[in-house]
Amino acid sequence: MNRITLAFQRLRSAGIHRPIAAYRLVQATILVSLFWKWEFFLQANNIYANIPVEDPFFPDWLRSITTIRLAFWGSALATGISLITSINLLRKTCNWLGFFGITLMCVHQGSYNDMTFVTIWWCCLWSVWLSHRIDTDQQELLMLRAAFLSRLIISLILLGGAAGKWTPEYWSGEVLFDIYFLDRDFWVFNYLRDNYEPEDLQEIAKWYSRQIIVVETISGIGLWALPARWAALIATIILSGVVILSNKYLVSVIACLIGLACVGFFVPRRPRKAATNVNLALEKPAAN
């Protein structure tokens, strides 16, 4: 029996089940992401009912306000239940329901490809996968796979952001200057507008844009290859930075990804070889 298995046994005897703890953290952050969109949902509910837009590209039921209401509430309810239940069948069912509801949100005329729903969809896919394996007796292997999958998903999302920015309009800062620096009401841009001239702002926008491209590219290509805990730490810092330096609306996009990134913290530390030899002689199984 290796040390990781021992570590798991100690934690389980103390009442901590790492895969379930990681799973619940992700469900909680999915709920944060969804309810950060609460204002969107309330406004959309009103506006879509009063100003329907008939577009034959979308099937009728994917333009319907009823579909978006059911999908949003269904997903939120299912995720809430999956967070608190300890009944495995109910957990799996709720994960599938949440996954299905968010899939609808991703292709509905009123919410399609909103990055909040895309990132939640990836977290739901991870949750569906984990909920079907949570009772396995190979907990450490499950935790390693869960953490690997989580950083692979985050890498992909960052890579997706980077690939679309490998174009001169982003490298020059022109796009983000217009979107953020010109009139976005957020502390960092308000501060910059108050303290710098327009030509300085364009230069700042250029370097702001370039650092985003570089960070997204490097982390998109390399984050998944890092050890679990390092990947979790770096991903959490990068994702938090996106919110702090861009806009508060991105909390809904990022919250669930931060939850997913934190899965890496649930992987037990790899014991150092030197310490291992000493500890093997001293260690007795913990009582609790």
């Binding site: 040390r3 837009v53 919410s111 292997l141 690939a163 982003y170 796009v175 291992t276």
Partner: protein, 161 residues
């Protein structure tokens, strides 16, 4: 000899997990698509069409939603009260950038409210560019007597794909 303390996936006694393998393969496929986008114009063209809701079929368009595209391409939009070319004095000064999927300016909650709450016809022009490829699309939002709008795609679109 295998170190029993190694936490790497490859060194654990593998219990086959098809779900895990499928998700990893799916992610790998999307990553390849994204990495090839700058070098294969067809992929970029496909993605630009996706952004303008001009993919030939809805199901092909919908199948692409898992591809993450946060702040992709240089997307601009312009909203006018008159048909394109009707008022010659209007120049291009009212172009604004959108972060991604510029067609959402028409249908998403804030854009729909800002531009369509007047119940008058509006003309939208979308322009997305990526590494020299440009796709421009025009939409007429025709106000309906019973309320709401009919979205009409205007055929004459300029593109240099």
């Amino acid at each position: 000899m295998v170190d029993s303390n190694d936490t790497s996936l490859s060194n654990n006694k593998q219990q086959r997990d098809w779900g895990f393998s499928c998700i990893v393969a799916f992610i790998g496929l999307i990553a390849v698509w994204l990495l090839l986008m700058p070098w294969i114009p067809g992929i970029a063209k496909h993605s630009l069409q996706r952004f303008h809701l001009r993919t030939p079929s809805f199901s092909v368009w919908a199948a692409q939603f898992p591809i993450p595209s946060m702040y992709n391409f240089a997307n601009q939009y312009k909203v006018e009260q008159y048909p394109p070319g009707f008022v010659m004095m209007i120049l291009d000064e009212n172009w604004r950038y959108a972060n991604h999927f510029p067609a959402r300016v028409i249908t998403f909650f804030a854009g729909r409210y800002d531009f369509l709450s007047s119940q008058q016809d509006r003309w939208f022009t979308l322009k997305s560019s990526y590494r020299g490829q440009v796709l421009e699309s025009k939409f007429h939002l025709e106000a309906q007597a019973e309320g709401g709008y009919q979205l009409i795609r205007i055929d004459e679109v300029e593109e240099s794909l």
